[in-house]
Chain length 406, copies 2
């Protein structure tokens, strides 16, 4: 059985790195804060007797030997990077629940048949560098290594340079690591489990997502003397576009999601009519067919607002991840472990992307969710109860044991 | 008579400092580029035999002695700072037309009765630091010196620190300089003169302006799992607000102007529902009464969209400048000088703020406009013809001579 207090203490110690005034975390991928987080957790993993490898993407693999080391490892993990105004649990819980599993096995001197691994994936959040779920995506062969290494943040800094700078450009070639199974635990980041008072979600699959950029180009001009009819105001058009684009989700409730989260205005001066706006569009749905319809509707909206010679609208592809079902045997094992522990669970889908989504392409994969307060995530006030985190980690422990064998 | 080619050459030499790829200028107030511009123009003014003083706001006063130095000087001038994507003429023309007047008088060894001054005002543009027209506003006693020195840019850098850094924190106390008259020449920055094929505008006064910030506060949450009805999306609300706010100008055509030029979204991450948006509102009209109505309408729009517990909207005052008539005797003198030179002119109002607007509170003030291409300003492609610039400078020369006496 998991030591819930030890797990909680580890989470709170990690949350001191990149702590924000409102009680959250800012540990953007491949920054100094990310490095400090990686160092701290790696030291804990080493103290628990695990051996550590780092691959070319900076993914960290911590291995606990089994009695039959010819078997592929049963892995768990998640990420340590956060959003700019992120919480203390998103990602960290998955990594530290894995660490706690290793510590409990040490406490009871248990050796599994298959080796176990705790993995820390690089840049899951996708806010500093796109594509999102980058480390796991490259591991799974979905994202080319070169694409990932060349990705740039807003200041033109690359993933390759950032990996070098924080000392996490590892020597393990991509793809040389394989898993017998991958089970990731995570907070739900939505309202379902809390609303129903259920401690554990057996995640059956994930929504698909499509990411775009919209570039609206008008013409800079003076806010004072320029008569209203002469204006080619990129912000005015962008505001109309955003209204139409967010309404795109309406016909597809309750599963359709549309978000514009990034917004850049140029030249951004109080007395200049905006000449250019770039904003992001994030579309999600359970069914690929609906995603397709939503993308078509998005294209129509952009065409409708595109007015050559006045204000132009360009739609750019950024990333697409199809809806992904998890491995049903492994989901069954999670259900069985919950039952065995007497922990109430329900099936659930994830609206968030996770490293598990990409890993499911190369290994049997599933996820364990626990409730988070008010369903709020990607927010400094993100919260979860020690009891729920402990319950989820117990399910993880028993699922890994069943899978790895004793 | 003005040497139009010499004036043009000076404009083009100055435009090399802070030149942008698209043929414009980025010389933000009190930056290194601004310092270089000030140094270059000061060296030209000194070469023309003028003596230079700098006041506590970094305003530069270059004086050409008269035969009766007990008389208050007849002054001209403008500013050298630009917008981030500014042009080569906005401000610079007013300063360099003044320089050219001095050079022509030197060429003909003319001494005026009253001394003459060319003034370079600090931070007219108001894009790096608010309030706008800062140096002239402090000179005129409209803006307190302490307020101006404490103003911060987006990075928290102050005017006081920036003045020190570029070596333009002068020792002349504010208010110790007075003018017998102030005549500023400037490009129109609007379409009227060009459309009518008229070289000179006798500016009778300026539109009033009111500046505000609107702060929209929602709640950050995850773009994936957060169901649409739960969202407190600050960007969605901001887009609605901007649509309503820009339409505010509709009932007040052709003189009403509304612009939202600055826009900041937080936390600005692709997969985070925006928690906060701050944007600027710039409202202009010829009549104070109408400005008052427009402000009331703005307040109503903000109230309508303010929804406590969901998304809140706060309207903040930034700056207000009332509509300002210029000195009618001085405007008459400009008309008479144009007539005397056989240069076609018309009366015009300015939709842009200018240093002259604040100086008019402490000295008889007027302005001379020349056409600019397509009425486009605050844009790198801002343009004007050497002929029009020469015509305007000739009117300036003769108006200053009439006012100062020979
Ligand atoms: N779990 C999580 O927050 N992932 C970030 C990727 C996304 O779903 O946008
Ligand atoms: N002339 C000019 O561009 N002034 C800037 C101040 C304003 O009118 O916004």
């Amino acid at each position: 059985r998991i030591d819930g207090q030890r797990l909680w203490r580890s989470l709170m110690n990690l949350a001191d790195i990149g702590a924000t005034p409102k009680g959250g975390n800012c540990r953007l991928a491949l920054t100094e804060e990310d490095r400090l987080g990686r160092e701290l957790v790696s030291s804990w993993l080493r103290d628990a007797g695990l051996t550590i490898d780092v691959d070319q993407m900076g993914n960290i693999f911590a291995r606990r030997a089994g009695s039959r080391n010819d078997l592929p490892p049963v892995a768990t993990g998640s990420h340590l990077d956060t959003q700019p105004t992120g919480g203390r649990f998103d990602g960290c819980y998955g990594v530290l629940a894995g660490l706690e599993v290793m510590r409990v096995l040490n406490d009871h001197s248990i050796t599994t048949e298959a080796p176990l691994e705790v993995v820390i994936w690089t840049n899951e959040e996708g806010c500093r560098f796109v594509p999102v779920m980058m480390g796991s995506g490259v591991h799974a062969g979905v994202i080319p290594l070169e694409t990932a290494l060349a990705a740039k943040d807003r200041n033109g800094d690359t993933v390759a340079a950032s990996l070098e700078r924080i000392g996490y450009s590892g020597d393990i070639p991509m793809g040389s690591k394989t898993f017998g199974a991958y089970i990731e635990s995570h907070i739900e980041q939505g309202p379902v489990l809390e609303a129903e008072g259920i401690a554990v979600g057996a995640v059956t699959g994930s929504l698909g997502l499509r990411w775009f950029d919209v570039v609206v180009t008008g013409q800079e001009a003076h806010a004072g003397p320029t008569p209203m009819p002469y204006r080619r105001d990129a912000l005015k058009r962008a505001a109309e576009l955003i209204g139409d684009i967010l309404a795109l989700a309406d016909p597809y409730q309750p599963h359709g999601r549309v978000t514009c989260g990034e917004f850049d205005l140029y030249p951004n001066s109080r007395n200049v009519i905006p000449g250019r706006v770039t904003f992001s569009v994030d579309i999600r749905h359970l069914e690929n067919e609906t995603l397709e319809q939503m993308e078509h509707a998005l294209q129509d909206i952009c065409s409708k607002h595109h007015e050559p010679g006045k204000v132009t609208v360009e739609l750019q592809d950024v990333q697409r991840v199809p809806p992904t079902p998890f491995n049903s045997d492994l989901v069954d094992l999670i259900r069985a472990s919950s039952d065995g522990l007497g922990i109430p669970y329900r099936d659930i889908e994830t609206g968030a992307g996770h490293d598990a989504v990409f890993i499911s392409r190369v290994a049997p994969t599933a996820m364990i969710f626990v409730p988070c307060e008010d369903g709020i995530s990607h927010n400094e006030s993100e919260n979860a109860t020690p009891e729920d985190l402990e319950a989820g980690a117990n399910v993880l422990l028993h699922t890994m044991l069943r899978k790895a064998g004793i």
